[in-house]
């Protein structure tokens, strides 16, 4: 079979050559940066995902070289293939920005404002999305939708109220595990992730649903309320896992010497990264939930953090990692906003020279004396 030539696609006035069959979203990700539309449901490692959340809508103002008509509606970039000569507008289209704002508002309508107690806060894709595209206040003034809590086992906590119905966890269970025990029940705005009979999810790879969940709907029970993610230090590590499907390469979220949480390694799009053996770096439940000692792991070094700014904040600046220096405010808008209150002037507790990540164990008021 002869290799098909690459095709040209222009996204936000940047032209790139991609392989035929690439989706607009993947092409935009190859360009990178702000051009790549946000995604809440699409997951490149899961077959069949995408198309549902509608945050990745883009405008196609030229279909292809052969058929230059624009597409009549905004299209979901994650499920639309590129054509030769296609011209796409993502960041540069007002229609797209407006639709994205609309979708963000819809996603936040029934999402509880419980970020302060949510374990996902700091690495939540919905937080990022609403920070970039959301409004300051909600226009929704009715009761939020709530669900009866459901226990799905000793390792995974299901918070259905936070779910945005991305279907990723269902695809994960379908494609990674032997049996799928949960699915979507009901219809419309009362559709929910459930096992129907409150059965524990019992499968050696089911923990990966925590990693794919874009919000705090599925969180790690062994990490629940233990720490905020931005207080922990991500460290890459590996171990010889006996499970043949498990790549054994993980990320430990540590504080001092203690391993608080183990997750799969993630790439810059927040997806599980490709492991060194070339396969997707899913990890088994044993690695995730039971190996919480540093002695279980071979430490490789601190993780390079570059996407989730909250985690990069403070910890690595000038020390390790690749967190880039934020562009100076002066350069951007020409003037520095007035600091109305410097917390260190009024608080005895929060001393700038004491670094939380350097304290062993949980912080205590004694540490600040």
């Amino acid at each position: 079979m002869s290799e098909q030539p690459n095709i040209k696609v222009t996204i936000d006035n940047i032209t790139i050559e991609v392989a035929p069959g690439t989706t607009i979203l993947e092409a935009a990700r190859q360009i990178g940066g702000e051009v790549a539309p946000p995604t809440m449901c699409y997951y490149s490692k899961l077959k069949g995902s995408g198309g549902k959340c509608r945050t990745c809508l883009v405008e196609v103002n030229k279909g292809s070289e052969k058929d230059p008509r624009p597409m009549p509606k905004l299209v979901a970039s994650c499920r639309t293939g590129v054509m030769d000569g296609m011209e796409v507008k993502s960041m540069t289209s007002e229609k797209v920005i407006d639709a994205r704002k609309g979708v963000t508002e819809f996603l936040l309508l029934n999402h509880p404002l419980d970020c302060p107690v949510c374990d996902q806060a700091g690495e939540c894709h919905l937080q990022d999305l609403s920070y970039e595209n959301g409004a300051a206040t909600t226009r929704y003034e009715y009761d939020r939708r709530t669900f009866e809590p459901e226990d799905i086992g000793p390792h995974i906590q299901l918070h259905m109220n936070r779910c945005i119905m991305c279907f990723r966890c269902v695809f994960t269970a379908d494609q990674l595990t032997e049996t799928r025990e949960h699915g979507i029940l009901d219809r419309g705005d009362h559709a929910k992730i459930s096992t129907c009979i409150s059965k524990a999810l019992d499968n050696d790879f089911i923990g990966n649903v925590i990693d794919v969940c874009p919000v705090g709907a599925l969180t790690d029970k062994t990490f629940r309320f233990k720490n905020r993610v931005w207080f922990t230090k991500p460290v890459d590590a590996h171990r010889n896992c006996s499970n043949p499907k498990c790549c054994g390469e993980a990320r430990l979220w540590m504080r001092g010497e203690e391993v608080y949480r183990v997750t799969a390694r993630k790439d810059e799009w927040g997806e599980v990264a490709t492991a060194s053996n070339g396969q997707t770096g899913w990890i088994c439940d044993e690695c995730r939930f039971e190996k919480k000692q540093t002695s279980d792991w071979t430490i490789e070094g601190p993780t390079k953090v570059n996407r989730h700014s909250v985690i990069a904040q403070g910890h690595y600046q000038g020390k390790v990692g690749t967190a880039t220096q934020p562009i100076l405010i002066d350069e951007v808008i020409g003037k520095r906003p007035k600091l109305t209150l410097d917390i260190h002037k009024v608080s005895e507790v929060n001393k700038p020279e004491i670094h939380l990540s350097e304290i062993e164990g949980p912080a205590h008021s004694d540490d600040f004396k």
């Binding site: 549902k52 819809f106 419309g188």
Partner: protein, 448 residues
């Protein structure tokens, strides 16, 4: 001229003997002597447009069907008629089941479908029995099964009941449901013509469309194409309901004016109790509502006719759609806010929950409409409603999002003063209706 309901009045037409005696299955005899391509060509010539709502040319849809070697193809009859106000297919299947079966056999032959499915709405609990009896009768007389009438063509028709979900009327959701899965619309492309039922090439057609294939074959595509107006060819079944003296299913020629359809004795017989006409939804609940002045005359001042082009004249600013033919008439005593609220409730209930704008937006619109209807609304709620519908429309996977957005948009576009009156007179609006106001007078068209 009646093509579909010509024999509907004959006693026992539901059964094979009477149906056959009155010229039934003639089209199958004729079609089996033609080649499948010739039948598709006849349907193309006839200009038949899909009767399910979108009005897509059927012949073109058929010619899109992929025909890879060795892969079975399927024809699926969409009998999941769940649109509020539409009940024409029910009438057809209940009283003329053999007409549908006949159309299905001809279409199956044209498309090369050896296993054809009728996906019927779950609430039509009694109709599968009628259809299955008709299928058994057809089979006993050699019109179905192996080697139909010695032509070498095999075809079986299976009836599958749905669970009663509106969303399963969307063709890809229907296919999912038929496969035994959750009835969620698929993301297109691929279209069913390439990968439909069990990822095989599939054509999904409405009941009335398939029934219309019978007169097309009997009289020839060209003859059929001469009936009607412009690109609206043939006849259309309308299910008229609401404030009418004679609600029911009517077969109409496309040059009939809306005024004649509502007020003539041959058709709906006018509005009962001497009331006046306030508004009408001409094509099933999901198409925009029109006030009287825009319903009877289009923006050019011509009398509006019951066809695809005339009803959609002027786009959504002044027009609507023929849709699936569910003709809902509101008299002066009806409240447009309440009416819109109940439609919004329907779409909220029937949203599949797959994509966010429809899942969250429909419920939000319903809640706002409810608060306006019950005297708790504010002026900015009306603008908010407009904003929500604007962000749902066109941004969803399937047309249900559009169907939920259009009625709300049209109600605000044409009846904004009634919404405002509800907001300004919260107490009075609980005890009386807004009435006709000035809808008899043409209003300035506001560009959208």
């Amino acid at each position: 001229m009646k093509l579909l309901l010509e024999n509907a009045h004959i006693e026992g037409i539901r059964y094979y003997e009477a149906y056959r005696k009155n010229g039934g299955y003639r089209s199958v005899e004729k079609a089996l002597k033609m080649t499948p391509e010739e039948i598709v060509e006849e349907v193309k010539k006839s200009g038949l447009r899909g009767r399910g709502g979108a009005g897509f040319p059927t012949g073109m849809k058929w010619s899109f069907l992929a025909k890879p070697e060795g892969v079975p193809r399927h024809l699926v009859c969409n009998a999941d008629e769940s649109e509020p106000g539409t009940f024409k297919d029910r009438y057809l299947m209940e009283f003329l089941p053999h007409l549908l079966i006949e159309g299905l056999i001809v279409s199956s032959f044209a498309l090369g479908s050896n296993a054809t499915y009728i996906y019927i709405r779950g609430e039509y609990a009694w109709i599968p029995d009628i259809l299955e009896q008709a299928i058994a009768e057809a089979k006993n007389n050699g019109w179905l099964g192996k080697n139909i009438q010695g032509s070498g063509f095999d075809c079986e028709i299976y009836v599958q009941r749905g669970g009663g979900a509106y969303i399963c009327g969307e063709e890809t959701a229907l296919i999912e449901s038929l496969e035994g899965k959750r009835g969620n619309p698929r993301i297109k492309p691929p279209f069913p013509a390439i990968a439909g039922l069990w990822m095989r090439p599939t054509v999904v057609n409405n009941v009335e469309t398939l029934a219309a294939v019978v007169p097309i074959i009997n009289m020839g595509g060209e003859e059929y194409g001469k009936l009607g107006v412009g690109r609206s060819t043939g006849t259309k079944l309308m299910s008229a309901c609401g404030n009418l003296n004679k609600p029911g299913v009517y077969e109409i020629p496309f040059d009939l004016t809306v005024e004649e359809f509502i007020f003539s004795d041959e058709y709906c017989g006018g509005i009962p109790n001497g009331k006046r006409l306030k508004a009408c939804i001409p094509g099933g609940s999901s198409v925009p509502i029109l006030p009287t002045n825009l319903l009877l005359k289009d923006s050019q001042g011509n009398a509006r006719q019951m066809n695809y082009e005339s009803l959609s004249e002027g786009g959504f600013a002044t027009g609507s759609m023929l849709g699936s033919g569910g003709f809902i008439v509101l008299d002066e005593d009806q409240c447009v806010v309440r009416h819109t609220m109940s439609l919004a409730h329907f779409y909220n209930h029937e949203s599949c929950g797959q994509c966010s704008p429809c899942r969250e937006g429909t419920g939000w619109m319903y809640k706002i409409l409810k608060s306006i209807e019950y005297g708790k609304g504010r002026m900015e709620d009306i603008d908010l409603l407009w904003d929500i519908q604007r962000r749902i429309e066109g941004n969803t996977i399937c047309p249900l999002g559009d169907a939920a957005a259009w009625p709300v948009a049209a109600a605000i576009r044409h009846f904004r003063d009634e919404f405002e009156w509800h907001v300004l007179n919260p107490e009075e609006s609980q005890t009386r209706n807004f009435g006709l106001a000035h809808y008899a007078e043409p209003r300035e068209v506001v560009a959208v």
